[in-house]
């Protein structure tokens, strides 16, 4: 409180008018600066603008001036220069952790959106509707500031001196725009993310908590206006009758022990339904599972997992293994592993001979010290590291396409984990066994062993903290191996992935290799032939209707919402097929944490509603081809007569590629 008073009195004493005079003068200087002097003068404007922002009555004055500041060149030359390129999801991070000048610039940018949304100051290239949409998303993602949850003094102090000003800005934006739609947007956002069934759901849970609090605080309209909120909240906090009122685990267990058979069965059904509906698992669910085994109600287990006949059969065949895994991995705190377990059983992979013994090996292997501390650092030490690891394995095997790279430059490694979980789970379990016992992987590259314990670091320069447990243990080693394979290809005339991909992932990666750019110059190379070859390999109408047998690595030239090239990215081609409307689509796995991305020029990756399975992203075949630059092929001759691809189709795709990522790569 003392800190807050000091801040208030400090800003109150500063004379707003004097600050505004200073601001106006700096804006004039900025306006008069040449293109070379802009950034220097922009910093001076930001310095004063920050002080006005800190002033309690400063926001209307800043809003009034934002048009002039924009025209004077406040944003020019910065990442904020083009408002339509900005991402609402990045705003929170900037406002919380960036340097004061950057926070101020972000705040000014939000005001720029505000005046565009309200029509006070038209911004060419930023439509009112777009601006409003952007701000709504920003507000939805910063609900904690609106609800005053950042008001904890210790937290506020740790967050830096601009926190009260940013909170005030959020409230101001909300007040100017009206609260309608913000909560709905947040709810939609949660459903959209959960439709991809990610392994890591902590941020989703955070958003659900925000929704719950917003609804409870009564500051918003009638709850029935927010479709879908109740299902999300109840899935986490009260999925079934006996825990509907969120009574706490101890009370819940007590209630279960006094419930009759019918009530317990209803409880199991309700828990399973909530889980399969949302992909979110309540801690009560984990407690229920443990209780069924402890209290001799094991026959409820398949109901609580919501198993079909396939899953039920797998459970029956491997009963003691499943009980062992529940005991080792399922706790309040690792509740998501319940979902992983259910889906793993449904996949039937336990019937593959090496899997069950591999899982027994996992259960019986003590963790090395390094593994224990790495898991402790990323998952916390409340539960044993082993619990997190077994839970992580269940999740990955249940949802191979749910793994994400976190905020790490390790798409290759995340993709590899996903492929193995999908296609080669016993190999994945073998890698885990190597790490947990010896803190090293020995992989082979063209016959030569690579010992990851002796290799220098790869792309990831720091420990992974924001990833799932299996990634935490394996990715640092895989990353090193990948980097070493790259080093061993130095001097070869072609892209190293030609050799790395099959060697790193497995024999089933096609040995024929197609790439659309010349590695030395980065220029396009025989692009039309490349596209034709891609159709011949993967398009069901042009490859003799051959399905994709194994997941295949492929390379995407990622573009931003304006279609500008951003970078090369590793994805997995899962399948190609017809969607409900009869269009051919490519279904693929993107190790980015959220596949729903706008790649510009209308190429928007769909994550649900176009026939995707959980975790898949999809694009129309042509759109996908227009961002593809690298793929593998198994070179099996087609058994049927192949239909040639029409020239205009190739030309159309090539034009889309040339207009976007390949712009300036004339070859």
């Amino acid at each position: 409180m003392v800190e807050a008073e000091k801040t208030t009195s400090k800003s109150a004493t500063a004379n707003l008018q004097a600050l505004l005079d200073r601001l106006d003068r700096q804006i004039i200087h900025l306006d008069g600066a040449s293109r070379i002097g802009k950034s220097d003068h922009a910093l001076r404007v930001l310095e004063v603008a920050r002080r006005v922002l800190e002033h309690e009555e400063g926001l209307p004055a800043l809003r009034q001036r934002i048009g002039v500041m924009d025209q004077a060149g406040l944003f020019s030359g910065s990442d904020w220069a083009c408002p339509t390129n900005l991402q609402p999801s990045l705003v929170k991070q900037t406002l919380t952790h960036a340097a004061p000048a950057t926070i101020t610039l972000e705040a000014m940018s939000l005001l720029r959106f505000l005046v565009a949304a309200t029509g006070d100051h038209a911004n060419p290239g930023l439509l009112a509707e777009q601006a409003k949409q952007f701000l709504t998303q920003v507000l939805a993602l910063n609900l904690d500031r609106l609800l005053g949850q950042a008001a904890d003094e210790a937290q506020r102090n740790a967050q830096g001196p601009l926190t009260p000003a940013v909170d005030r800005l959020m409230r101001y934006l909300m007040q100017e725009l009206g609260p309608d739609g913000i909560l709905d947007h947040l709810i939609d956002e949660v459903w959209r993310i959960m439709a991809q069934r990610p392994l890591q759901v902590d941020h989703v849970k955070g958003m659900v908590v925000q929704i719950a609090q917003a609804l409870q605080s009564g500051s918003t309209n009638a709850a029935d206006a927010h479709l879908g909120a109740d299902r999300l909240i109840s899935a986490l906090f009260g999925p079934a009758t006996l825990c509907r009122d969120d009574p706490g685990i101890a009370v819940y267990i007590n209630r279960l022990s006094r419930a009759d058979e019918r009530a317990i069965q209803d409880e199991a059904y309700a828990l399973a339904r909530a889980m399969h509906d949302t992909g979110l698992v309540s801690d009560y669910h984990a407690a229920f599972l443990r209780w069924t085994l402890d209290a001799d109600h094991a026959r409820m287990l398949p109901h609580a997992l919501g198993l079909s006949t396939t899953g039920l059969d797998a459970l029956r065949c491997y009963e003691s293994l499943v009980y062992g895994m529940v005991d080792a991995a399922i706790q309040p705190g690792t509740a998501q592993a319940v979902y992983g377990l259910a889906l793993m059983l449904e996949r039937g992979i336990l019937y593959s001979p090496p899997i069950a013994p591999s899982l027994w090996r996992l259960l019986e292997t003590p963790l090395s010290e390094d593994c224990t501390s790495a898991l402790g650092a990323s998952c916390g030490t409340l539960l044993p590291a082993k619990t997190h690891l077994v839970a992580g394995v269940l999740m990955l095997l249940g949802q191979p396409l749910g793994v994400g790279q976190g905020n790490n430059p390790t798409c290759q490694s995340a993709r590899a984990l996903s492929m193995w979980a999908l296609n080669d789970p016993d190999y994945l379990l073998w890698l885990i066994a190597q790490i947990t016992r010896g803190d090293r992987l020995v992989l082979h590259f063209e016959g030569e062993p690579l010992d990851t314990a002796t290799l220098p670091p790869g792309l990831a320069t720091s420990a992974l903290l924001d990833a799932d447990p299996v990634s935490v243990l394996l990715v640092p080693h895989l990353d090193r191996a990948y980097a070493e394979m790259g080093r061993r290809c130095i001097g070869r005339s072609e892209d190293p992935h030609r050799w790395i991909n099959p060697e790193l992932h497995g024999w089933w990666v096609g040995r024929a290799f197609h790439i659309a750019v010349d590695v030395a110059t980065g220029a396009l190379k025989e692009y039309e032939d490349f596209l034709r070859a891609f159709h011949a390999s993967y398009h069901p109408l042009h490859n003799g209707n051959q399905p994709v047998i194994h997941p295949q690595p492929a390379g995407i030239a990622v573009t931003d919402a304006t279609g500008t090239f951003v970078g090369w990215h590793a994805i997995t081609l899962i399948r190609a097929g017809l969607d409900q409307d009869g269009h051919t689509r490519v279904y693929f796995f993107n190790p980015n944490n959220d596949s729903g991305q706008d790649w510009g020029h209308g190429v928007i990756v769909s994550t649900s509603g176009a026939g995707e399975r959980f975790g898949e992203g999809s694009l129309l075949f042509e759109e996908f081809a227009a961002r593809l630059y690298l793929f593998h092929d198994d070179v099996l001759p087609s058994p049927a007569t192949v239909v040639q691809v029409p020239d205009e189709q190739i030309a159309r795709i090539a034009a889309m590629g040339r207009k976007s990522w390949a712009a300036g790569r004339a070859g």
């Binding site: 008069g32 040449s34 220097d40």
Partner: protein, 408 residues
């Protein structure tokens, strides 16, 4: 970008300064920047006319720079930094066909030669000597203090130790004791030693064309190495007549026909002026910025005009305001040094930020937590700018900043 006037000179700027380029972009002279290769990418990206040149190395390609610029049609070279002064002199001796310009620039570059030349011309300087090693410093310290009739055990009067060819306060140490001498490392020699003058130190910025002063500014130091403001207080400005005479003497002795000089002087309580040193380039501490704030003219553009052989006297008269009377107020700046040994945050003191004279600052958050100990007058961590009506208040305000923590 301002339309370029082809009847005016084509200017080569020696050194990379965004402030200067900004001024050129808004000015009618054609220009090219001559700077080290590290600036090239930035120049290309922003379409800045650029010639890459390594000023550190003097070799047999030096003539190439002059001929390159001559072929481009460049009329004159303007140095921005100490290291580029003799390069500009050398190139200008070719471009302007005046061999004397090289020799003149060498005088500006070597503090020892400079003092001798001033002394020969009848300008008052303090006692000075060249030092090749620590023993020379010890001897000079002892002799200066003997002259002052000090007894053993009396505190010494300090002497000043300055690198021959560095700008401003770089490599400038104040020596009082044998310990101070011992802390000088061998690579700082040779150097210039000077007796300390108990006077009021100030600097002058003078724009000269056709051997005539076009504009003369007096910069008042509040504390050397910390703060400066323009125009000076009336107390110092009352010496303007004497100062002008001194500058005219300097112009005559150094045979300066055109250009920009930045000399430093001491004035003792009886009004005697001692010459300290003179530089042929813009001063540090952003005095140019302060001048623009106080008078509204761009000092870089002014400098380019006095170098440009195609500038007319009328043009200059229209450009320059009248000294002191045309100033809208006093502009000052303060160089911040961290006062603590360990710092983690930049925090502008409330009394600074809330003062009505506070203008803006260019301080950055600390990169390293540990502050290296200052032995010489080092480089400040950034400048804080002030602007206000009253010269005395400005002086007191700048002085007060010395007691505040900007880095905590």
């Amino acid at each position: 970008m301002t339309e370029k006037n082809l009847d005016k000179g084509y200017i080569a700027i020696f050194g990379w300064s965004l402030r200067c380029i900004d001024a050129l972009e808004k000015f009618d002279r054609r220009y090219v920047i001559v700077a080290p290769a590290w600036a090239e990418a930035h120049a290309v990206e922003h379409d800045i006319p650029f010639v890459s040149w390594d000023f550190e190395r003097i070799n047999d390609r030096s003539m190439e720079l002059a001929t390159t610029l001559e072929k481009m049609g460049v009329d004159v070279a303007v140095p921005l930094f100490e290291e580029t002064v003799e390069w500009a002199g050398a190139v200008n001796s070719v471009l302007l066909k005046n061999a004397r310009l090289l020799g003149q620039s060498m005088l500006f570059r070597d503090k020892s030669l400079m003092k001798r030349r001033a002394q020969l011309g009848g300008i008052r300087v303090g006692i000075f000597e060249e030092a090749m090693d620590q023993a020379d410093v010890t001897r000079f310290l002892r002799r200066v203090n003997q002259t002052l009739l000090k007894l053993d055990g009396d505190p010494n009067d300090p002497i000043h130790f300055k690198a021959f060819d560095k700008a401003g306060c770089l490599g400038h140490r104040v020596i009082r004791t044998a310990d101070d001498v011992a802390s000088i490392s061998d690579d700082e020699f040779p150097a210039l030693l000077e007796s300390h003058l108990d006077g009021w130190e100030f600097a002058v910025e003078a724009w000269i064309k056709d051997g005539k002063i076009q504009f003369l500014n007096i910069s008042e130091y509040v504390t050397l190495g910390y703060s400066v403001f323009v125009p000076a207080t009336p107390e110092l400005e009352k010496w303007r007549g004497r100062i002008t005479q001194e500058i005219e003497k300097l112009i005559e002795v150094f045979e300066i026909d055109f250009g920009f000089i930045h000399p430093e002087y001491f004035v003792t309580s009886d009004g005697t002026m001692y010459f300290g040193e003179v530089a042929y380039r813009p001063p540090g501490f952003n005095v140019f910025e302060l001048l623009e704030r106080a008078y509204g003219f761009n000092a870089y553009q002014a400098m380019i005009m006095v170098f440009d052989p195609k500038t007319t006297q009328e043009e200059l008269e229209a450009f320059f305001p009248t000294e002191v009377v045309d100033a809208k107020g006093h502009a000052g700046c303060f160089g911040v040094y961290p006062r603590r040994r360990v710092v983690s945050n930049l925090e502008i003191p409330a009394e600074t930020e809330n003062h009505p004279y506070f203008d803006f600052h260019e301080l950055n958050p600390p990169h390293a937590q540990k502050v290296t100990k200052r032995t010489a007058f080092g480089t400040h961590w950034g400048l804080v700018y002030f602007f206000g009506e009253d010269a005395v208040e400005m002086r007191d305000l700048l002085k007060a900043q010395e007691e505040l923590d900007f880095y905590i």
